[in-house]
């Protein structure tokens, strides 16, 4: 790549969390281990730790999402940060102000961290490249590219139940082509050494050359589910019917829906996962979503701890780098102003 990865600062530590591609197993494991530390927070009377006290986190959601936004809000509050919800959907950018101008205005509010969700792939990269130094960017989902916190909470859930990734067969079903969750899950699974990742769906929903990401493509769900340890469903958006990608949700369920009969083809202790919100009777049968193999609600709970981990790690790295450079200035190692 000719452009440097904007996720890392000059000290080589993670300062933005944008894309699981480009992060090695050590960083991913650090995030999972840190999240373990936060997972017990509900056991306390005061469900907070003081790490981000005095910091302001702003949710910049250019696409609607109550679920992800609330999860980030809760994570920020549990870290004792102040949270600002900026409604970008009806704001000035929809009136034609450029993304960059909007960013400058928000920087002037002196927030420490932005959680960004945007409809364009590459939006988080763009913002991270142009944001003022010492502001952290967390990607809450950019177009079809990446949803890294969802990827991490999926890994956390799998690790909690299954432990070692190197022995697992993970199957991802549905609209991989348009799914940032799928891309993030695939990147994380490959990095963590997953034995086999399978993607399955109609060809209209499988992106070109997806094998280059390290996955095996199946067109038959029954074949794909054999010996599966983890099954991940993906949301099928109604738009797909309008753009002639899938004829109907009924046909989708008949060919690629996770019914109880199909679930039985996988290993008996296989996990059933879904990033939500689920379309019951389309991607997954209601009984399967509610069944004993389903960990869908756990994913939501773990999402808080994982987001707390990501936010504290990048914030800590930025603060440390800032402290170090101020230290260097104090000791005349660098000239102030350079």
């Amino acid at each position: 790549m000719t452009l440097p990865d904007p996720q890392f600062n000059v000290a080589g530590t993670l300062q933005h969390f944008i894309d699981l591609q480009g992060l090695d197993a050590n960083i991913l494991t650090q995030i999972l281990d840190t999240a373990e530390g936060f997972a017990g927070i509900n056991d306390r009377k005061i469900k907070q730790v003081p790490l981000l006290r005095g910091k302001t986190v702003a949710n910049l959601f250019f696409e609607n999402s109550t679920r992800t936004r609330t999860a980030f809000e809760l994570a920020a509050k549990r870290l004792s940060a102040d949270i600002l919800n900026v409604d970008m959907v009806t704001s000035s950018t929809s009136k034609g102000e450029s993304l960059l101008d909007t960013l400058r205005v928000l920087e002037a509010l002196q927030c420490d961290m932005f959680i960004v969700r945007h409809a364009d792939s590459g939006a988080a990269h763009f913002i991270a490249r142009h944001v003022a130094p010492n502001i952290n960017i967390i990607n809450g989902g950019d177009g079809q590219h990446s949803h890294p916190t969802q990827g991490m909470l999926d890994m956390f859930t799998i690790r909690r139940h299954k432990g070692d990734f190197s022995k697992l067969c993970v199957v991802i079903i549905g609209d991989i082509k348009h799914s940032r969750v799928a891309r993030s899950d695939i990147a994380a699974l490959m990095t963590l050494g997953c034995a086999q990742v399978r993607v399955v769906g109609p060809q209209t929903l499988i992106p070109a050359d997806v094998e280059s990401m390290g996955v095996v493509v199946y067109s038959s769900l029954n074949d794909a589910l054999k010996d599966a340890d983890v099954i991940m469903g993906l949301r099928l958006q109604k738009e797909r019917m309008k753009t002639a990608t899938v004829p109907s949700s009924g046909e989708f369920y008949r060919t690629y829906g996770l019914s109880p009969e199909r679930l039985a083809l996988a290993k008996p202790d296989a996990l059933v996962m879904h990033p939500g919100p689920t379309n019951r009777g389309v991607e997954i049968a209601g009984t399967v979503a509610d069944g004993k193999q389903s960990v869908i609600l756990e994913q939501v709970t773990y999402g808080i701890a994982v987001r707390m981990a990501v936010m504290s790690i990048v914030m800590g790295n930025s603060d440390a780098m800032l402290a170090q450079s101020q230290d260097d200035i104090m000791q005349h190692k660098t000239q102030p102003g350079t």
């Binding site: 790549m1 960059l100 590459g122 990269h125 763009f126 950019d142 280059s212």
Partner: protein
């Protein structure tokens, strides 16, 4: 050699000494008066005593005929924050182009005589710039519905008609347009793209776009449209030039069509001989191009096609942009590379990636475009011929500072990246001077 006494008020005689002409093994001197070459050979200085002489040292330089650009954008009228006829014609001349065909997608489109005359007039006003020649918009407003007044526009000065980067949806309209244009022997210069398939895309369909989650432009978007154009060409007999092809499959289609003897030619944008989709990694907007950079095999086929002659010509595909055009997430950036300020060093690397020699490459930028436009392409450096040529030092290192950028557009990968990081050889090449209609533009010191 006859002596000429010049009447007062005329331009001086230029004596260009020590340059290497095409096909020559020894340096040759050229003498230019007004817009004509008045002598060729080896001169001694004494023979011109008493006359107003300007000596141009061309030692170490190759001498090439002024290049002809089959696709460029000057942005004027209507998009002048991205470029003007003045700025872009100057930039073109600095890249060795003396004649530039400008895309009709200005605002308004070039579908009226008034716009044609504005462009021609502005171009004439620029003393040291390339000649800007407008293409006619094939349909009114490029909307693909109603034919433009092609005969009138041709008479006003448009040698070809084009749809720029807009596809025509209706095959009926396209058929009719091709029939109509052929009545006036007006060639069509068409980019092959489907009206719907890939219209939302911004990158080649492949592993990179999959990883980046970008909407894509499949090869089929080009080849299906190309097949349609070829079939209609066969039936209507319209002279067809396919502008800026991008895929291996397109090269095959055109090769087959040519073997049949159909009146088809094609060109490739210079950047497509070098850049591929892998360079989009990290959402590098400098590689966002309306004709996408495709995969390695496609690039290889384009290079072979140029060598084998299936691809007749090279164009610049010059697309200058203002700075805001690239300050957005990748899918929202405006596509296009500003070509002229970095054209010469790329031109000089075409031989090493295609196996053609430099003279043959120059042919793809001079002889072939002229032939496609139905003009006489024979180059002569003889007494009495027009003085349209440039001096190129092919070994001088190439250095483009910010201040040295002539075009309004800085949007070129080489403005921000090192050549070797893009898979290129170190950049060389320096234009020393251009003679255009006898006027000298010097870039020395």
């Amino acid at each position: 050699m006859s002596e000429q006494i010049l009447p007062p008020g005329t331009r001086p005689i230029y004596r260009i000494t020590g340059g290497t002409l095409p096909g020559a093994s020894n340096p040759t001197d050229i003498k230019v008066c007004n817009d004509t070459i008045i002598d060729i050979g080896t001169f001694s200085e004494s023979t011109d005593d008493g006359q107003d002489i300007v000596d141009i040292d061309a030692s170490g330089c190759m001498v090439f005929p002024g290049l002809v650009d089959l696709y460029s954008r000057c942005r004027e009228p209507g998009l002048t924050r991205k470029g003007t006829i003045a700025s872009e014609s100057l930039a073109a001349l600095g890249a060795g182009f003396t004649h530039v065909l400008c895309s009709p997608d200005t605002l308004p489109a070039v579908d009226s005589v008034a716009t044609v005359e504005l462009i021609l007039h502005r171009s004439k006003q620029v003393h040291a710039g390339a000649n800007i020649i407008p293409m006619a918009a094939l349909t009114v407003g490029l909307r693909g519905e109603q034919l433009s007044e092609l005969a009138t526009l041709q008479a006003a000065g448009c040698p070809v008609a084009s749809q720029a980067d807009q596809a025509i949806d209706s095959t009926t309209v396209l058929y009719s347009a091709m029939e109509y244009a052929s009545s006036f022997n007006m060639p069509l210069l068409m980019n092959a793209r489907d009206a719907q398939l890939g219209i939302e895309g911004c990158a080649h369909t492949g592993a990179i776009a999959t990883k980046l989650g970008l909407p894509t432009i499949p090869v089929a978007a080009e080849t299906v449209a190309l097949a349609r154009l070829i079939e209609l060409c066969r039936e209507t007999g319209c002279r067809l030039h396919i502008s800026r092809i991008s895929s291996a499959r397109a090269v095959e289609h055109i090769s087959d069509a040519k073997q049949e003897g159909l009146p088809i030619s094609c060109d490739v944008g210079i950047h497509h001989l070098f850049y591929i989709d892998e360079l989009l990694a990290g959402y590098d907007a400098s590689f966002h191009s309306a004709v996408p950079f495709r995969g390695r095999e496609d690039r290889q086929a384009l290079r072979h096609g140029l060598k084998s002659g299936v691809i007749d010509a090279i164009c610049s595909d010059h697309s200058p942009h203002d700075i805001d055009a690239s300050l957005a997430p990748f899918p929202e950036t405006e596509p296009g590379l500003s070509a002229y300020d970095w054209f010469v060093p790329l031109l000089l690397q075409v031989p090493e990636v295609t196996g053609l020699n430099l003279e043959q490459v120059i042919g793809k930028l001079h002889d072939a475009p002229l032939a496609i436009l139905g003009r006489d392409s024979s180059v002569s450096f003889d007494k009495g011929c027009p003085a349209n040529f440039f001096l190129l030092n092919v070994d001088a290192p190439f250095a483009k500072t910010r201040q040295g950028i002539v075009s309004v557009g800085n949007n070129n990968p080489l403005a921000i990246h090192d050549a070797t990081s893009l898979g290129l050889s170190p950049l060389k090449g320096e234009l020393r001077a251009v003679f255009h209609e006898g006027r000298l533009t010097s870039y020395m010191g």
